[in-house]
Symmetry: C2
Subunit: 116 residues, 2 copies
DNA sequence: CAAATATATATAAGAAACTTATATATATAA
DNA sequence: TTATATATATAAGTTTCTTATATATATTTG
């Protein structure tokens, strides 16, 4: 797994993106999907996840539905109608940032600046 | 400019990459190049930059050369021979992370997981 | 010529985002 | 029956960043 200090600031956009694409997810499911998609590279810990989800709920960007599955409580999160544009905006902002980062890390990017 | 909390964890890899490509840079120059390359998207503040540079120096990854230019002190940073492999490693690690992030944010990535 | 801006480095206080540890509880596999 | 998987939650501590402040010279603008 990548040393997770490379992740700072990325977890919220990832969570929003997952909720945006999958419509309805519960916390544990999010951690498992992150692990699976990243092939173990990213481990989203519960200590990071739940505070983010709770904050998103407070901001009205996500809403919750509680259900008892297999005698265990499960809390589903989904993006609210009101929060939809905000979520889209935050996801787009992060995608822009990734494009910007790509400029720095493309192979031999330095050449045009060294000689420019 | 992008809200800079998207940047957490990325500044050190960016600085290392710039030093790696440009061989020898001073702090102010780094901030200006980051601004230029990112087209104003990323503002690397001095409060973030100098502590990172000082820490890299302490770790032996970079070394400094002080010069008086135009009657002002200028401190050049460059990657040490000893720190070269470490720097390469950290840059590669971050590039891997960017690749992983790309999976999450590629258009409609969700489909194959929703139906998979 | 005075004021503002650009160049140059530095650090301290505070906020935000994480990690790690801990707590609770049920289901399933070994 | 013990360990692992499922499921949510929070608190303490660390790291990393922002914002503010300090110092000093050079250059541009009004």
């Amino acid at each position: 797994m990548a040393s997770n200090d490379l992740l700072k600031g990325m977890l919220k956009p990832i969570i929003l993106k997952l909720l945006f694409e999958n419509k309805r997810m519960y916390g544990y499911e999010i951690t498992q999907m992150v692990k699976e998609i990243s092939e173990g590279e990213i481990e989203l810990t519960f200590g990071a996840l739940y505070p983010i989800l709770h904050k998103l709920e407070l901001e009205g960007i996500v809403k919750t539905e509680s259900e008892i599955i297999n005698n265990r409580n499960r809390i589903y999160y989904s993006i609210t109608q009101k929060g939809n544009s905000k979520a889209k905006e935050k996801i787009a902002e992060f995608e822009d940032m990734l494009k910007t980062l790509k400029i720095f890390f493309k192979p031999n990017f330095g050449l045009k600046y060294v000689f420019g």
